[in-house]
Amino acid sequence: MNNPAPVFRDRLPEPMGLMLERQKTVEFIFEGERITGIKGDTLGSALLANQQWVWSRSFKYHRPRGPLTLAGHDANSLVQLPNEPNALADRVPAIDGLDVTGQNVNGSVKKDKDAVLNHFGRFMPVGFYYRAFYKPKGVWDWWEKQIRVKAGLGIADLKFKPEYYDKAFLHHDLVVVGSGPAGMMAALKAADAGADVLLLEEHTLLGGSLAYSEFSDCNNPEQLRQELMAKVRQHANITVMTEAVCNAWFTDNWLPVLQGKRLYKVRAKQCIMVTGAYEQHVVFRGNDIPGVIFSSAVMRLMKLYAVKPGERAAVLTGNEDGYLTALMLNRQGIQLCAVIDMRQASELSHTEKNLVDQLHQKGVQVRFGQTVYEAKGSQRLEFIEVRAITSPGEVSASLETIPCDLLCMSAGYMPAYQLICQAGGQLSYDDQRAAFSLRNLPDNLYIAGSVNGIHRLSAVMKDGERAAIEALNALELSDEAVPDVFCDQKVNFHWPIFKHPKGKDFVDFDEDLQVKDIVNATRMGYRDIQLVKRFSTVGMGPSQGRHSALPTARLVAKATQRTVSETGVTTARPPLTPEKLAYMAGRGFDPYRLTSMHYRHLELGAKMIPAGLWMRPAFYPKEGQRLTGSAASPLLLQARNIRNACIENESLHVRTKVGLIDVSTLGGIELRGPDAAELMNRIYTFGFLKQPVGKTRYAVLTNEQGVVIDDGVACRFDEDHFYVTATTTGVDNVYRLMTFWNTQWQLDVDITNVSSAYAAVNLAGPDSRKVLEGLTDLDLSREGFPYLACREGFLNVPGCEHKIPARFLRVGFVGELGYELHVPSRYGEVLWDILMAAGQPFDIKPFGVETQRLLRLEKGHIIIGQDTDGMSHPSEVSLGWAVSKKKPYFNGCRAVDIVMKRPQTRKLVGFRLSAEYLVQNQKPEEGHIVLSDTGSDSSITGNVTSCEYSPTANAIIGMAYVGIEQSEEGGQFPIRVDGGSVVMASVVSLPFYDKEQTRQEA
């Protein structure tokens, strides 16, 4: 803290200060200075109470900026919190101990070294960055570094500890967005009729403008607010959410609502947008100097926070709100040095003349037909220069300078159109009222209140009820006639833009855009409002055109000799307000699946790898070799060496003794019913009608393009009962395809996906039969249970009477004597336990998926998805034998016929390389390309799909797609490996291991 605490200024007496708990103070730090506020203050109101009017620096010229809207609707109030950039000072509550700084400054907000840029505006014309930094060629590299240092606003805290953000769904008959007088009336009307209503309010207090504004047709808006609020709060059919921002509109009234640390996904049958209107500024030189502020902001400051906004105030207006502001200032004892109406006295309505009379009675004279032409002051407003308006945008030469420290401006209103335009609503400009209005609303969406161009309070309330009646009629909760609501109050001055030859007459405060910037953009050919936006960046800052859209439309229309309606405004896209990424990145749902043996793998120290939603053991490193984190990266030599050693050891163990692998992730589909065989026959390529009971058969599935998309083993347990396995990631697709077709075929068969219902292991190796013999009563002899047979039986659980129902499949994926055992998943862990225990005398060891991949590669078995791609037809992968030519139909048969008759251009072959290439670090990897020849103009003919060092073969073995002319056994083909070198692989016949099949059929 550099300075002692400033003197705490007295606040205005009650009833000013609706938000305050006056007995409690808060202290926080701003730019190193201690700021004392009152509980209920925002950072901004506390700063203003302490005479801190400079909150930030402008984006381009680093001009001092202070409060503008006090509603969180502008970029002037952006400040830096310890772990949050771009916080809105006029929205963030003041809390004890918070350390707040300005942002986009070089130094401090009061002494910003970059403020010198303010004097170099002429060198930074509109769009200069598109043109200035690219010539001569190469200079951009230097400029980019400088620009990146200067660009951006706040600073992200990269050490920030993530917080818990989440999402929730809400459903309501009617959502009312905005709790102003129209919103509360709409909610009450609808709720009284029985609708389930959600009322959303972006601020803390309900009531919208009732909470801070003055009305010519209501003497006590606070009393009205309290009455309406009490009814709303007590109504059983109304749910109220405050500090909740409806940040977009999506089709069918899907509304994302941000509140606290939660994103609500709201579904509304009907929606009433009562979003209000944004007050508009007057464009003149120096309209950004701290102390030049919206009338509504001054009202908020006094009514909500009891802050005396200045000592000598001026009001510049084009509507009655300026008079109401002046009267409020007067009541609070603030000297009014000038009330300036841009209109002529003859243009005032009867109501406004009454307000002028009231001011006269208080000794305040009103100047008509004049404007502020320039505001002056360095860190705070000091003078205004007033001139007479001679024609739209033009002023007289005579001048008068008035000292003041506060200028309240009210040039009119722009409907808060963004959400409505996102819904398809269209803006049209009424020249007579000099205002935009919204038309062409979609079904089930209504607007009311000032967003609908209704400003007189009594009419606003009727308009809220009118919108509710429309919504109730659509909900069929009412058949009341929809009343007409009329309001003749004109709020917009037709041309509140006074261009100054020296500029700094800001149209867009976010981007420091002046009148000449917009006009010059049109002169450079960017006549379309969308192009003006992109070239000048108008409306692209944090306030998203709330205050710049209307003056920009007017300026572009004038510069291009079109109407404002023809010019329009730029597209309003979601989100409405800046949305923290935390809302998107907060708690998400990432489902995962675990087999029932999962924790046994962890206990054994397995290296786990993802497989779809599953986690599977890749291999089982010994203690001391279990790497974690970045050390386990396969890019590191140590990790690769451990992996290779593990799978070599595990594979040799399976070849010589016995191993156990968890295959629970395999898909399983149960087919039962008289037509089960017929369905199998129509789905898969092989013939299944004559498959014997008790036998398995390889099942290949093709799609309607003739491409192999899945495979599995079909077990026939009864005439009307098949159990077919599918690949881990393919089973859902297979199941979907089966049910899809049978919806049309109407075969008498029940199809059930039982993938999760069964746990499974593969017990493989020459000793597997011995392991199993003690656990089942089944005849496991070669004759009693031969290769490719399947059985249903039981496994005994040693030490208890429990018998586990099990399916036994004698299949040979890894090429050894082996048994796949499928049991209900509730028994999965016990299955693992009893097999590991029974295998102990035979030195049983677990093996992982990576080892299984090597073992099956040695046997020449393909893996769908690894050794096939989106073009692989049965002939290419040597599965022609699994395609029945005798049956009339199977899924994809017509395409299979066509593609298999075409001249084949590639083929999946086995290849072999000397183990010496391992030493030379030239082992091919999956994905390496196969070349037509070794010449410099060689073309790509295929790619490697599988490749490992096989300790059994003592060679590098693999499979690869090669050109058909390269596929002949004994030939050689080149593979480009890492580093760009080329190795020559020899084509060999498959399998690499046990060509006589004696081991798996043992």
Binding site: A168, H171, P591, S596, E670, A757, Y758, R826
Partner: protein
């Protein structure tokens, strides 16, 4: 969830029947379902208050059976089981079994805590034991089963599921076959002794995931696991 896993190292001396996520639940006292698995009977002394507010009970090992086919409705009638008259509706038998009608031809019968599922265990599980066109399903093993209880259940589920599950839109006896936290799930609204309940049936192999998601969602309401004794 990681801490839950680590705190529950489980030895192999348990019963053979185990859910995929049994390591992630613990309690003071257990009971055995008719299927043989251990179910938590009491988590702690606050079970009774928690169950009325925001509780979660794991019934994955409580027996249940499903059937699909044209012959199921008459088969269940022959077993004395009354079924709902239209799909996506549930009914409670006098003995406390919950009978779900998931389609015109698919029915699940969920065991009652009163008899720990003994009645349901007597129903056939093999299609050789059922009439034609009545195929037993595998929901005992394919699905985990949780019960969310208490006054906050609709708010808890609003964080996980896009379907409106508030009582006015989703009354007792209604079923939603939907996605909960990106996982397929059957949601059934029922009530026990006046306590609002959602029965949730989802993929057994994602049971640990679902349990973690539900416990996380319950935290906001100071909710958590409860034992089965609360619902008996």
């Amino acid at each position: 969830m990681e801490s839950l896993r680590q705190s529950q190292y489980v030895s192999s001396d348990l019963e053979p029947v185990r859910s995929c996520h049994y390591r992630t639940v613990s309690g003071l006292d257990f009971t055995h379902s008719a299927m043989g698995g251990r179910m938590i009977q009491v988590v702690d002394a606050n079970d009774d208050s928690r169950v009325k507010s925001a509780g979660l009970i794991d019934l994955s090992l409580l027996p249940r059976v499903g059937y699909r086919g044209k012959g199921v409705e008459s088969f269940l009638s022959s077993q004395g089981i009354a079924v709902p008259n239209k799909p996506n509706r549930a009914a409670i038998s006098p003995d406390g079994e919950l009978v779900l009608r998931l389609s015109l031809t698919e029915f699940w019968v969920l065991g009652s805590l009163k008899d720990l599922g003994r009645s349901v265990m007597e129903l056939p599980r093999q299609h050789t034991q059922t009439p034609a066109s009545c195929y037993p399903l595998f929901c005992e093993d394919s699905h985990a089963c949780f019960v969310l209880t208490g006054e906050h259940i609709a708010n808890v589920m609003a964080k996980l599921c896009a379907v409106n599950l508030r009582e006015d839109a989703f009354p007792v006896g209604h079923i939603a076959q939907t996605s909960v936290a990106r996982t397929s799930c059957i949601v059934v609204r029922h009530q026990v002794e006046g306590v609002p309940c959602f029965m949730l049936l989802s993929d057994a192999t994602a049971g640990e995931y679902m349990l973690g998601i539900l416990l996380d969602a319950l935290t906001e309401y100071q909710g958590g696991l409860c034992g089965t004794a609360c619902l008996i």
